[in-house]
């Protein structure tokens, strides 16, 4: 890239130095001079339509739009003269002429850019006396509502949908004052329902079915936390409001754009928080009595579980107990879970639903430096190779970053996939290979020409393969992203290829904290940080001797249960990724048919208080990720802080549950959660809108005569230990708490030792509108799925 030189301009007498070619509006913003705008939106194409940003530039005949003028040396600009003020004022007057001014009932009231601009720059008197245009509000989809008269035609929605999402579902129709934003299917939308158009609308013209008329913006508190759905880790800001049963979540958006996702959120991150108050949400523990699960107190339930676990441990040994962790619980919970399993239950029988082969990834990258890419890197890397997966459906943020990078930075995207995935439209080269041949493709990249035969087809010639390989070899700073199609030796092979050209990697796993689950050691043969069980390590140094033998994998646990070797199972959430129930499962007969174990069945039990639980003895209602604090590690290894947003009476976090169980099992809680010895107290940063959790800590601390600083229920206490002991998790705590993501290098620092048994990898295969079992409890996701079933249309559209 050629160096751009800095130039100096003068704005309102102030000197500004910025790179030549910077847009004037951005140069002004950088030094705190606000130039108002509606249509200008960073990263989207320039429109110069709203004319709010008109400024006077010396030597130019007319007022100029600061949103399109690129600065040149010596430019002298005025943004505060009467002339400029009058121009702004008149634009507002013109807009208000046809604007309904139904602010008191408008969803955007209080958050409306037109209101703000009117206040700042606008008109006190109205010159307009003609009748206003009136049109009924239209519902375009379960998510999107459109109120035409409120629209100011800034075209942000059209651009974010087309340029940003590559969906092109919104258009502009008619002309002159008849101009109107139109949906792609006559009177409704067929789209990805991401809600980006709603979020970006400066006024209340586009509103969401999930939020409309629910509340006034100022009645909410806003908690920025991490989305609980896919593995990308978008920041979502939840608007919460007190209710009878705690704290309700009424809205999701990304209002401060400060997360790794910037402007982006998909439908799930934005709207699929609405499982939280699903009618079948479990709000009290269930205990099996006379063959039936009936509501019980927490005390009774905890007692039942701990008594049973204690009995099995003390009579049969820890190896008769199995533990299944979750992909949607926090790092702190996962870490605690495996620690609890290993030192309290004295078992290595711990696993989780593995949606990607992170263990092999760690083995392949062990000892390498700076070998993993961050989610942000995907938006700036000059070149990307994507093998397998369909990020548009499964990793929406990743897909957005790829598209943005291609669009704004002309990054080169190379895609090898067995499907006709949508990202091929951004690809410089798209190679459609037969299903299951991803490994062959990697072998070919590594120079094995004999693999070409398995890849060629009518569309893919030997030559095109070679050209692609040559081109890839020549790439600098390539980021290689691969899906769960690559496992075991194939991962080692792709790492070999990439390392040769200095590439960095991203291994795609599916749920919100699947990478965290792997990093935190939810493995029968690996301690946190992919540390081999055998040999000396920091964990055994600190915790004391660990059960020496490798534990059972999830599949093996089932087998053992059938054979009567395993008699108790503690399943956190379910292995399909739900984190809403901690279950004690007892009895071999009960698990006999349970390959569905990994499917939705248990998940649903998390919600169903009365459903038939063939083998759960106790079901505990757990808090969802939106109802607790902690950290998640996204699929790239970006660690982020979760803040508690919602609160549901009757549920408890897994963290608290585990601490209570451990205490009943006679463990030294101070050792399990070294809250006294920790250095980093949580000063409340992670508690979001809540104080309830802090209250609980307070009660416990007082009861135990402890210092009111950290409690064993505070996940931050164990984060201290994670930082201390887990290789690669030596991040800046200050950075984390202040809201920026921290890239962890656990895979690079891993020490997993040999071990390459073929493990079961079970990708989620979620679509944009599903999210394991959890998704099926989201009203908005269900209505979108329903709606699409009712109006099947070929969804893929061509780009402009």
């Amino acid at each position: 890239m050629s160096e751009t030189k800095n130039v100096t301009i003068t704005v309102d007498g102030k000197q500004i130095v910025a790179p030549a070619g910077t847009l004037l509006i951005e140069a002004c913003k950088a030094v705190g001079i606000e130039v108002p705008s509606f249509c200008y939106y960073p990263g989207l194409s320039l429109q110069a339509a709203c004319r709010m940003c008109l400024v006077r530039i010396e030597k130019m005949p007319k007022l100029q739009t600061a949103c399109t003028v690129q600065i040149t040396d010596g430019m002298v600009v005025t943004t505060t003269s009467d002339e400029v003020r009058q121009a702004r004022k008149s634009m507002i007057e013109l807009l208000l002429g046809n604007h309904p001014l139904d602010c008191p009932v408008c969803d955007a009231g209080g958050e409306c850019e037109l209101q703000d601009m009117t206040f700042k720059y606008g008109a006190a008197e109205s010159r307009y006396m003609e009748g206003k245009l009136h049109k009924e509000e239209q519902q375009w989809s379960p998510v999107v509502f459109f109120d035409r008269p409120r629209c100011i035609l800034c075209y942000r929605c059209v651009r974010v949908c087309g340029e940003g999402m590559d969906v092109w579902a919104l258009g502009v129709q008619n002309r002159a004052s008849g101009s109107v934003i139109a949906p792609n299917q006559d009177d409704h939308l067929q789209c990805e329902e991401c809600g980006m158009c709603i979020d970006i609308c400066p006024v209340g013209a586009l509103t969401s079915g999930a939020y409309r008329y629910k509340t006034r913006p100022w009645e909410m508190k806003h908690v920025g936390t991490v989305c609980t759905h896919c593995g990308d880790g978008c920041k979502t800001t939840l608007g919460v409001r007190r209710s009878d049963t705690g704290m309700d979540i009424v809205r999701g958006d990304n209002r401060d754009k400060s997360g790794i996702n910037g402007d982006f959120l998909c439908i799930k991150g934005r709207y699929a928080f609405d499982f939280f108050d699903h009618p079948s949400r479990l709000r009290a523990p269930l205990v099996r009595k006379h063959g039936k699960l009936v509501p019980a107190t927490w005390e009774e339930a905890i007692e039942r579980i701990s008594a049973r676990l204690k009995e099995v441990r003390d009579t049969k040994g820890g190896h008769a107990i199995g533990v299944i962790g979750s992909n949607r619980t926090t790092n702190e919970e996962n870490y605690l879970l495996q620690k609890f399993t290993r030192i309290v239950l004295r078992s290595n029988n711990i696993d989780h639903r593995r949606t990607a082969d992170f263990a092999s990834f760690a083995r392949a990258l062990a000892g390498k430096q700076d070998a993993t890419a961050t989610m942000r890197d995907v938006a700036s890397a000059p070149a990307i190779l994507l093998i397998g997966n369909d990020p548009t459906e499964q990793h929406p943020l990743l897909a957005w970053n790829i598209r943005t990078n291609v669009r704004l930075n002309r990054a080169k995207l190379f895609v090898a996939n067995s499907g006709d995935i949508k990202l091929r439209r951004q690809a410089a080269a798209f190679l459609q290979i037969p299903e299951g041949r991803e490994g062959k493709f990697v072998a070919f990249l590594n120079g094995d020409d004999s693999a070409a035969g398995a890849l060629t087809s009518a569309a893919v010639s030997n030559d095109s393969l070679k050209t692609l390989r040559d081109e890839l070899r020549a790439q600098q700073d390539l980021v290689i992203i691969f899906g769960s199609e690559l496992r075991g030796a194939d991962i080692a092979a792709v790492v070999k290829f990439g390392t040769g050209i200095g590439a960095r990697f991203i291994c795609l796993g599916d749920y919100a904290n699947s990478r965290g689950a792997a990093d935190m050691g939810l493995y029968p043969d690996l301690l946190p940080g992919y540390t081999a069980l055998t040999g000396s390590n920091k964990f055994s140094d600190e915790w004391g001797a660990l059960p020496p033998e490798r534990g059972l994998s999830a599949a093996e646990m089932l087998q053992a249960a059938q054979q009567g070797r395993l008699v108790a199972l503690l399943a956190v959430g379910t292995s399909s990724g739900d984190d809403l129930a901690v279950e004690l499962v007892d009895g071999a007969a009960a698990v006999a048919d349970s390959l569905t174990f990994f499917q939705d069945r248990i998940a649903q039990e998390g919600f169903l208080s009365t459903g038939p639980h063939s083998w759960s003895q106790v079901v505990l209602p757990a808090a969802s990720a939106y109802e607790k604090s902690g950290t998640f590690t996204n699929t790239c290894g970006d660690l982020q802080l979760l803040k508690k947003a919602g609160d549901i009476a009757g549920v408890k976090s897994e963290f608290e549950i585990l601490v209570r169980l451990a205490e009943r099992l006679g463990a030294d809680v101070r050792k399990l959660v070294p809250f006294g010895g920790g250095v980093h107290a949580d000063m409340g940063q992670s508690r979001g809108a809540q104080s309830g959790e802090a209250d609980r800590h307070g009660v416990w601390l007082a009861a135990n005569n402890l210092e009111p600083r950290l409690s064993p229920f505070d996940p931050m206490a164990i984060l201290d230990e994670i930082q201390r002991l887990v290789p690669g998790y030596e991040f800046s705590r200050l950075g984390l708490v202040s809201g920026s993501e921290q890239h962890v290098v656990s895979v690079e620092k891993s020490n997993a030792g040999p071990g390459n048994e073929l493990v079961q990898i079970m990708p989620a295969n979620d679509s944009l509108f599903t999210s394991g079992a959890l998704g099926s409890y989201s009203r908005i996701l269900n209505s979108v799925i329903e709606n699409r079933r009712a109006q099947p249309v070929d969804t893929e559209v061509m780009a402009d």
Binding site: K62, L94, L95, M129, S177
Partner: protein, 440 residues
């Protein structure tokens, strides 16, 4: 089809073949057709551009930008194909001259495109004709087919080793598409929304390639300039205003029609000699000098004006497109202003706030005003609105709407006042609704 007229003062350059059947290629050749392009093939590109610069030809589309200079902005090495685009969208109210050129002498346009192409290094030209002019599309298609058949177009034109293609294109009803960047959008198959400038079309135009956009009349003058020499063309008009132009007389005039006269021709003579004065013994009240986008002149002002670009720009006004519309003293200027605004309101592309909302608001206010619902503050409001559009819209259409409005309010304020407070329109008493609006 359209009827031709003549006057002894006329100097026929562009219109020299009108009425002579020159749409037929054989007839055209008899009348010196395609001689200029043969001559241009022998010239260096810079020579052609210089000849056009010398001719002082200024854009006949309305803006009056020097054509030679425009051509010289095209980069020599662009790395992308260059294009010539002929603007035949002719939609400016009062203007109907390009129509005659394409009807009577389509080959002069084709030849002009080729010369322009040779000058700037383009190999492809498009002639964009407004959708309503279907019969001209058909004439142009035939002319192009004939030129291809003769080997004047296509590969190796005139055996020169050079290739050149000219294609026809048509619109489908949109004044705004006459604006050059919107014209390109339309030619690319899009809505006629103008583009952000810079970059200017000469640098980044059609499909990203440098593009010369000229009005039909400007392009049709090119072959004549090459044949007669730039200086001779320049000498026909006053300094810096080379040549002749087609003036379209319309409205309240005895001899409406399209006349080719030297630039600088006195407007008074144009009205009373060439046009034969105002019919029905009435008096002249107002003149629209060059299409509805120009400042409207009072009769007294009109008598002082010469029809060249600089005489107008000296006053901060515009000569415009050649559409001269005479308005007699029995016409209501409020209604006239309203009709003009109705046009711009209908034709605004709707892209930017001031034009979309401003034209709509002005139309509504003027409608109410003309119907007798006007209030005193409306008069100032109308002016205020127009002033706030002027110079602030995305493209000059907003200016085009503001300019006539402001000049009418300024010059005929008394007629606005005569409509106040429910009084009937003094010119059309029966058409007014005597009802005051309900104030919000």
């Amino acid at each position: 089809m359209a009827q031709l007229v003549s006057h002894p003062d006329e100097v026929r350059v562009v219109s020299q073949r009108f009425g002579k059947g020159a749409a037929d290629i054989e007839r055209h050749l008899e009348l010196d057709g395609y001689k200029a392009v043969r001559k241009a093939l022998e010239m260096q590109p810079d020579q052609i551009i210089n000849e056009v610069k010398t001719s002082n030809l200024r854009g006949r589309g309305g803006a009056g930008f020097p054509t030679g200079m425009k051509w010289s902005f095209v980069p020599k090495d662009a790395g992308k194909p260059k294009y010539i685009l002929v603007n035949g969208d002719e939609s400016e109210p009062g203007t109907c001259k390009d129509r005659l050129i394409l009807e009577h002498d389509p080959h002069s346009v084709i030849e002009g495109v080729m010369i322009a192409g040779l000058a700037v290094g383009a190999k492809v030209g498009y002639i964009y004709i407004r959708g309503e002019y279907r019969y001209l599309v058909d004439i142009t298609r035939q002319a192009l087919a004939d030129a291809y058949a003769k080997g004047f177009l296509g590969k190796n034109i005139f055996g020169s080793g050079k290739d050149f293609d000219v294609y026809w294109h048509t619109g489908a009803g949109a004044y705004e598409v006459g604006e050059e960047s919107a014209l390109m959008e339309s030619l690319e198959g899009k809505r006629g929304i103008p583009r952000i400038r810079p970059p200017f079309p000469a640098v980044v135009g059609l499909w990203g390639g440098p593009t010369v956009i000229n009005n039909v009349e400007s392009i049709a003058a090119i072959p004549h300039i090459i044949l007669m020499g730039g200086q001779k063309f320049a000498d026909l008009g006053p300094p810096k205003n080379g040549g002749t132009r087609l003036f379209c007389l319309s409205g309240h005039i005895n001899n409406p029609g399209v006349y080719e006269l030297p630039l600088g021709y006195p407007l008074k003579k144009l009205i009373y000699d060439v046009g034969g004065g105002i019919p029905n013994g009435r008096k002249l009240k107002a003149v629209v000098p060059g299409g509805s986008s120009t400042f409207v002149l009072t009769a007294a002002e009109a008598e002082q004006m010469n029809m060249d670009f600089d005489s107008f720009s000296k006053r901060g006004e515009f000569l415009g497109s050649g559409g001269v519309v005479m308005v007699d003293d029995q016409t209501c200027m409020v209604k006239f202003a309203l009709r003009i605004m109705k046009f711009y309101q209908h034709e605004s592309c709707g892209w930017c706030i001031p034009c979309r909302e401003g034209t709509d608001w002005l139309k509504k206010t003027l409608t109410r005003f003309h119907n007798g619902g006007g209030l005193k503050k409306d008069i100032d409001n109308i002016k205020y609105l127009a002033q706030n559009m002027l110079g602030r819209t995305f493209c000059p259409l907003g200016d085009a709407a503001a300019i006539p409005t402001m000049s009418i309010v300024d010059k005929w304020r008394d007629e606005f006042e005569a409509h106040l407070e429910g009084r009937a329109c003094p010119f059309e008493p029966e058409s007014s609704i005597k009802e005051l609006p309900v104030l919000a």
